[in-house]
Symmetry: C2
Subunit: 193 residues, 2 copies
């Protein structure tokens, strides 16, 4: 069988808590969907914010919706040099001990004390996909991208849920290093298969 | 034996022909060395230029010396989006059919009609290193970077000369995707050894 998985390249983005959404955009504000994402119910919002770090700022950073429990800012290593922050590579949601940053919106600003990460490479599997591919939630696998900038990424986290659609998420540094763009495919490499 | 090779991460830079150096910096101008590079005789110059593409510009782009036959601009895929140019991945010196760009210096500007590339991953081997590692000029090999962002880069060009010092050159996208910085080490993977 073929182990092909579609790729989504994640540009820098922000997930906002309901409280921070109101601080940045005003009381009772609700995000407006720009386009749906690959994961059911998730969307890119029309709204953007500015990230301000010690060394520089990045405007027009997309907000992903809907609002969630904790604010999380996902940037690339390249972005981190521009901003002057030094976030660790983390799985989404694992923000203890990560650096903060200032976020500026049209109606206010938020000084985060934590929440900036470089997102770990990961693959979303619907439960049925995970069975087909033979992986479990929490597994770490390898994927291979072909072409002239061929790369094998190791240590790719598998996330499995009935609410997920099959998609491999890499950041812009990883996508650019491998010559991958959203909609391309990578091959899952299962050791011993 | 161990197949460890030191890494140099190449940020965007420009090699200038003698003619373009004069156009940008004035008649008879000579570059001033800022620091030596890993390859004997090569240096990062104190001088920088601004690159101007259809979509944006990047200031303070380092010139590498000494001046050479043809002007060549080496950028990352990330840079290419900012500038609005679409260069191919090429080996150094192979600039036929590549896009141009505008270069601005303190005394003038140059409108290149070709010369912008994304440099192919490559390893410089002194002839004695090549013998030790069992590679020939022009070979393509794999290298592995360990750590939490572990990556295997395929299709890495081997360049062998008595004038080279052992060094693996990756661009900033590749370095950031793999969590590598200059002075780190990668492992050469020889098929069948």
């Amino acid at each position: 069988m073929e182990y092909k998985i579609p790729v989504g390249i994640s540009n820098r983005h922000v997930h906002l808590s309901p409280e921070h959404l109101e601080q940045l955009f005003g009381k009772g504000y609700e995000l407006t969907e720009l386009k749906p994402l690959s994961q059911p119910g998730q969307f890119a919002a029309q709204e953007t914010v500015t990230l301000v770090g010690p060394k520089g700022e990045i405007p027009k950073v997309r907000i992903l919706g809907p609002a969630r429990g904790h604010t999380q800012v996902e940037i690339s290593k390249t972005d981190s040099y521009k901003l002057g922050v030094n976030p660790p590579v983390r799985d989404s949601g694992d923000i203890e001990g990560t650096p903060g940053i200032k976020i500026i919106g049209p109606k206010g600003e938020v000084e985060l004390d934590k929440g900036v990460i470089i997102a770990s490479r990961h693959i979303h599997f619907h439960t049925s996909d995970a069975e087909k591919f033979g992986v479990k939630d929490g597994d770490r696998v390898r994927i291979r991208a072909g072409g002239e900038r061929a790369v094998i990424f190791e240590n790719v986290l598998c996330r499995v849920s009935d609410n997920y659609a099959l998609d491999c998420h890499l950041d812009t540094d990883e996508g650019n290093a491998a010559g991958l763009k959203t909609g391309d495919y990578v091959e899952l490499i299962l050791v011993g298969k």
